[in-house]
Amino acid sequence: MTRQGRAARPTSSLRPLHVVVAAGFACAAALVGLSVGPVHVPVTSILSDIRWHLGIGGQPLGQVDAVIVWTLRAPRVVLGLLVGGTLAVAGGSYQGVFRNPLADPYLLGIAAGAGLGATIAIVVIGGGADTPGVTPIFAFAGGLVAVVATWLVAGRGATGPTTLILAGIAVASMFAAVQTLLQQSSAVAVTHVYYWLLGSLVGATWGGILGTAPYMALSVAVCLSCARLLDVLSVGELESASLGLPVVAVRTIVIAAASLGAAAAVSAAGLIGFVGIVVPHAVRLLVGVSYRRILVLSLFGGAGFLVLADVLARVVIPDAELPIGVVTAILGVPFFVLVLHVRKLRLR
């Protein structure tokens, strides 16, 4: 293939086939997530049970299998779909706003803020013990406080990428330092905070999902509706302003929406890395540079990716679980190296 042919993309609009394939991937991952675990429940039996519930034939699962699939695994799978999809869309949106393919949803201090929030919950509220009902709320609040702090440190109206990124680094460092200080006061808390930081879908409940899903849904809806504007922003601040784009308003809205979603995702599942970088990158490599494609396909890709990572986290070590953040990192790092390598070859 010629250099020109390889770099050319016939169109930037979203194709139905892409959506069908991506949604199919997420659905298949969800079925695998419901099926695989210490007790294997065949996918065909799950599909039959779904048909039975819908009143279109099929056979119900046995009582034990039904509890395993719908009570134990389904909340976890749904949370994985939500968190993975939200982190991927938030990461893709950040990459569009900052015009930087290495931007991730934690760029403006959300990870450090959520970490500090969770640490305050565990150390101050729980006295060193885990506080499952409180930690997510504090993590959510901490993440949002960090983004607001970053905004304030950058200066009012200063939404230029470099200033914000530097402010994010400063805020994250400060929050991380306070978190370390708090952790030092309680040796027991260190373990709980550590496990929380690694991220996990273990604690998924329908109640917890209902509490965070609206924020994630709002975030995804806003980011997707702004995808076209991110394409305009890709020509830079000056040129997009000359084309009639209200640059500061678009940046503010997208960053606020992506940050809200990332904070909600972190509060629900802890810090899960790489989904927000790797998934939009993979989508970009496969279907081109338009955010109209990247964000929609990242939603499904991130959802499916995180559910599959959770399946691996469950089955790699018999009778034990790996933290999902470890799995996404183990899968993500080699993939990331591959992405960079392919990118380098394309630019050569």
Binding site: R3, Q4, A7, A8, R9, P10, T11, S12, S225, C226, R228, L229, D231, V232, S234, V235, G236, L238, E239, S240, A241, S242, L243, G244, L245, P246, G288, V289, S290
Partner: protein, 261 residues
């Protein structure tokens, strides 16, 4: 008749430094005005201010009779289109989609492009001889083709004023002429006003109706190319001796003093 661009008392400062100092200018529909001047004279600051892309400290800019300060982003973009000196080219974006970005001001922000938007883009691509490369990524085009794509993006804005900041930067002689011919043809056929900056004084004199010489943020002379491109004026403001020859009525600026045969 309402001017495409009417600037009065335009002043821009950065700290204590005055970049533009009370600039007055008037550009009619169908007119091509080129700002010339030494580096740091304020040419780029002027075109950015005229296109509404930077804040001004004093004065007034009117686009087609409307005060720029009162215009929202999309309304402004429907009155002035801008071609930057060094365009940002998004990696992998096809030419057609790149040019389509110029239609943002013609629809509500979140709405998809209409068939009319695509038709306008198709027509401009054909006019600028870009139709055959519409599906190629912009970064794979040659310098001249790429600059034509940037101009196409500005033209689909269908604004009555086209502002170009050094549109021939980095192009060889053939492509410089090609790009400026494209602009000249659009101006002739659509009666759009053109405001540009150019370092090449001979090209500036060949294409523009009027030249304005900026020095230290002030307009020191405006007039036809033959009035402005004189050896004495250029020596005074550029600080070098030049020879100005007349070739078929077009002043040709040659660096260096006249040599006796």
């Amino acid at each position: 008749m309402t001017a495409a661009l009417d600037v009065s008392g335009l002043t821009v400062r950065v700290g204590a430094r005055v970049l533009l100092d009370g600039v007055d200018l008037h550009v009619e529909a169908g007119e091509w005005l080129t700002m010339i001047g030494p580096n740091g004279a304020g040419k780029t600051t002027f075109v950015h201010a005229a296109a509404g892309l930077r804040d001004i400290d004093d004065g007034r800019v009117e686009l087609s009779g409307r005060d720029l300060a009162t215009l929202k982003d999309r309304a402004r973009a429907s009155l002035v289109a801008f071609v930057p000196q060094t365009p940002v080219v998004p990696e992998g974006m096809p030419v057609r989609e790149y040019v389509l970005l110029g239609r943002v001001s013609h629809r509500p922000l979140l709405r998809a492009e209409s068939p009319h938007d695509r038709a306008v883009v198709g027509e401009v691509l054909a006019r600028l001889d870009l139709a055959s490369m519409a599906d190629r990524a912009v970064q794979t085009l040659s310098g001249g083709e790429r600059q034509r794509a940037v101009i196409a993006r500005a033209l689909v804005q269908e604004a009555p004023l086209l502002v170009l900041d050094e549109p021939t930067t980095g192009l060889d002689l053939r492509h410089q002429l090609e790009v400026l011919e494209v602009v000249a043809e659009e101006r002739r056929s659509r009666r759009i006003a053109v405001v540009s900056t150019l370092h090449d004084l001979t090209l500036a004199g060949r294409f523009a109706d009027r030249l304005c010489l900026l020095d230290s943020g002030r307009i020191v002379q405006c007039g036809t190319p033959r009035e402005v491109l004189t050896e004495a004026t250029l020596a005074r403001h550029y600080g070098v001796e030049v020879t100005v020859l007349d070739v078929d009525g077009v002043p040709v600026v040659v660096p260096g003093p006249r040599t006796t045969p």
